[in-house]
C-alpha cells in the first residue's frame, strides 16, 4: 500500500524522481513504518514528502518511448523546474512566475479552435484533453538564454489533437495564443512584449510526434508558473516557442506573427530551432548550462532530436531561416 502510493504512475519511482527526492521518500517511508503509523500516515504524506503544495497527481498517465531510460540523462530537480521560469506574464525575474502565479485561475478554462478546420469551436479544457492519451514525455528543454533542463512532462500528442479537429487543405500553420488577463497576469500591465503572447508552428512541425500539449510534469497537474493548465512543448526548439496557458489555436494558410519575433526579429526567428551553429546576437548557442551543473556542455543540433525532426527542414538554409 505504501509503495503503491509512492508510485506516480506505472513508472517506478526511481525512474521518474530525482535521487534526492526518491531517497527522501524512502527515508520518509522508513520513518513512517518505524513510527508504526502505517497506511494512514502514508496516505496523508505520500503525495509530497519533500514539498508542500504540489499539484494533484494525474491519473492514467502512460509511459511513452520518450522516457528517462531512452533519454539517458538525469531529471532536473522539481524545484528548479518550478522556481526558475521565464513566463513574463508573471514578471521578468526567474522567480517571479512562481511567486506571482499562486492565485492564477485555471478552471474553468476553454480553448478556442479556429480557422481552417473541420470542427471549430470553443472547447472546455476537459473535453479538449479527454479524447487523447496522457503520456509521460521526458524531454530536454533548451532556453535561448543558453541554459537547459530535463523535464518529465505529461501531455497529449499535438498531432492527435490536430487530427481530431480535422484541419482543411488551407491549414499550413497553427497559431497559438496565451490568455490575456492583466488582472491575473500582472506582467501584462507592462509592455515588455505585445500581449497576448503569440506563437506558431508550421503544420508539419506541429504534426511531428515530438510535439505535445503538456498538462503536467512530474506526474502532477501543471504548476501555474509552468504554463497551466495547458502549454505547448517542442523540445527541438528554444523554450520560448513552447507557449504557455493556451486559450486559442488557429489553423491558417499564412505564417502567423510570433511575439519574440515581433519584439526583435533579428534575434528570434519564426523557426527558432535549437542550433549550435547559428549564433544569436545575445548568447552564443554553442554551449548550454544544464541547470544543476557547473560546466557548460556542448549544445546538440535540434537539442539532440535531429533524428526525429531534421527532415522537416531539408533544403532550408537554417542560417537565414533561424
Amino acid at each position: 500500500m505504501l509503495i503503491k502510493i509512492a508510485k506516480p504512475s506505472d513508472v517506478k519511482p526511481s525512474e521518474i524522481t530525482p535521487k534526492s527526492l526518491y531517497l527522501d521518500r524512502r527515508r520518509f517511508l522508513k520513518t513512517a513504518a518505524v513510527a508504526g503509523a502505517g497506511v494512514v500516515l502514508g496516505t496523508i504524506a505520500a503525495p509530497a514528502p519533500a514539498h508542500a503544495a504540489r499539484g494533484p497527481k494525474l491519473e492514467g498517465v502512460v509511459k511513452s518511448k520518450w522516457n528517462l531510460e531512452t533519454l539517458g540523462e538525469k531529471l532536473t530537480d522539481y524545484d528548479a523546474i518550478t522556481k526558475y521560469n521565464n513566463f513574463y506574464e508573471f514578471g521578468t525575474d526567474k522567480d517571479d512566475p512562481s511567486r506571482n502565479s499562486g492565485a492564477f485561475k485555471t478552471r474553468p478554462w476553454s480553448i478556442a479552435v479556429e480557422g481552417a478546420v473541420e470542427k471549430p469551436g470553443t472547447y472546455d479544457l476537459e473535453d479538449f484533453i479527454k479524447p487523447h492519451a496522457l503520456e509521460e514525455r521526458v524531454y530536454r528543454l533548451r532556453c535561448v538564454e543558453a541554459w537547459s533542463m530535463v523535464v518529465p512532462w505529461v501531455g497529449i500528442s499535438l498531432a492527435n489533437v490536430i487530427k481530431h479537429f480535422g484541419p482543411t487543405g488551407n491549414a499550413k500553420y497553427v497559431a497559438f495564443e496565451t490568455l490575456l488577463d492583466p488582472k491575473q497576469m500582472p506582467g501584462q500591465n507592462r509592455r515588455v512584449l505585445k500581449w497576448p503572447y503569440k506563437e506558431g508552428l508550421r503544420i508539419d512541425e506541429a504534426m511531428n510526434p515530438l510535439a505535445i500539449l503538456a498538462v503536467g510534469l512530474y506526474g502532477e497537474a501543471m504548476p501555474n508558473q509552468n504554463g497551466a493548465p495547458i502549454r505547448l512543448v517542442t523540445p527541438w526548439k528554444y523554450g520560448f516557442k513552447s507557449i504557455k496557458s493556451i486559450v486559442k489555436m488557429r489553423f491558417q494558410a499564412d505564417e502567423p506573427p510570433t511575439s519574440w519575433n515581433e519584439a526583435a526579429a533579428r534575434e528570434y526567428g519564426f523557426y527558432s530551432n535549437v542550433n549550435p551553429t547559428v549564433d544569436h546576437p545575445r548568447w552564443s548557442q554553442a554551449k548550454e548550462r544544464r541547470i544543476g551543473e557547473f560546466l557548460k556542455r556542448p549544445t546538440l543540433m535540434f537539442h539532440g532530436y535531429a533524428e526525429e525532426v531534421a527532415h522537416l527542414y531539408a533544403g532550408m538554409d537554417l542560417r537565414k531561416q533561424y
Binding site: 530537480d77 524545484d79 526558475y84 521578468t92 526567474k94 545575445r282 552564443s284 554551449k287
Partner: protein, 232 residues
C-alpha cells in the same frame, strides 16, 4: 572630535565597510547555503552571482556619479571626500563581475569569451565600459593626480560620464524585451548627468550675463569720459 577625524575615522570606515557588504553577504551565502534550487541563489547560482556583482557595479558607479549633484543640492562640500572610494568600489565590483563571467560563466573558455566580446553587443559595450573605467581607477591616487596635473586629471576623469551611459546600455541590452529595471537605472543616470549639463549651462549663462554687465558698465564709463565733464 574634529570634522576631519569624524570623516577620516568614522564616516569613511562606515562607508567602506558598507560597500563591502554585498560581497561579504554573497561570499557568506555561497559558503554556507544550499546552492540548489531551494537555496537563496535559486536554480542557477552562477547567473545569480554574475548579476548580483553587475548590479552592485552599476549601483556604485551611479553613487559615485551622484556625489557632485548631491553636493550641489545640499551644499555639503565634504561629500566629495567619498567620491573616490565610491568610484573605486564601482571598479572593484566591475572586476568581480567580469571575473565571474570569465571564471564561472565561461570557465576560462577564452575562445568563447573573445567571440562574445566581439559578437555580443551587450558584452562589447560592457567591455568598453571596463576599458573606460580602467584608466580612472589607475589614476585615482593622489600621486597620479599630481603627476597628471589637476586640469588634465579632471579632463581624463570626464570619461566616467560615457562609462555611466555605457553601463546603462549594457544593462538594458542584456535584458530581453522592454524591461523596467534597466530603464530605471538609465533614468537615474540621465538625471545625474542632466544635473551637470544644467549646472554647466547656468554657469555659462551667468558668466555671459556677468560679462555683459561689465561690458555695459565699461561702455557707460567710457561715454561718461567722452562727455568730459563730471556731473558732480
Amino acid at each position: 572630535m574634529t570634522r576631519e577625524t569624524a570623516i577620516r575615522w568614522v564616516a569613511k570606515p562606515i562607508v567602506f565597510t558598507s560597500a563591502l557588504l554585498p560581497l561579504v553577504w554573497l561570499a557568506w551565502v555561497v559558503a554556507t547555503s544550499d546552492l540548489g534550487p531551494k537555496g537563496p541563489l535559486g536554480a542557477n547560482p552562477i547567473e545569480y552571482v554574475n548579476r548580483h556583482l553587475g548590479d552592485w557595479a552599476i549601483r556604485f558607479l551611479l553613487m559615485a556619479l551622484a556625489v557632485t549633484p548631491l553636493r550641489g543640492i545640499t551644499g555639503w562640500a565634504q561629500l566629495t571626500r567619498f567620491r573616490r572610494m565610491l568610484g573605486l568600489f564601482a571598479f572593484f565590483y566591475v572586476c568581480l563581475h567580469m571575473s565571474s563571467y570569465i571564471g564561472l560563466d565561461q570557465f576560462f573558455d577564452w575562445r568563447a569569451i573573445w567571440k562574445d566580446i566581439v559578437k555580443r553587443n551587450y558584452i562589447t559595450v560592457g567591455m568598453l565600459t571596463f576599458v573606460m573605467l580602467l584608466p580612472l581607477a589607475i589614476t585615482s591616487t593622489k600621486g597620479m593626480v599630481k603627476r597628471l596635473g589637476g586640469q588634465r586629471w579632471t579632463k581624463l576623469h570626464r570619461l566616467v560620464y560615457p562609462a555611466g551611459i555605457a553601463a546603462c546600455f549594457h544593462f538594458y541590452m542584456m535584458r530581453k524585451g522592454v524591461q523596467l529595471e534597466p530603464i530605471v537605472y538609465a533614468l537615474i543616470c540621465a538625471a545625474l548627468l542632466g544635473y551637470r549639463i544644467a549646472a554647466h549651462l547656468k554657469k555659462k549663462a551667468a558668466r555671459t550675463a556677468k560679462g555683459a554687465a561689465t561690458r555695459v558698465a565699461a561702455d557707460a564709463s567710457r561715454d561718461r569720459g567722452k562727455a568730459g565733464a563730471p556731473a558732480s
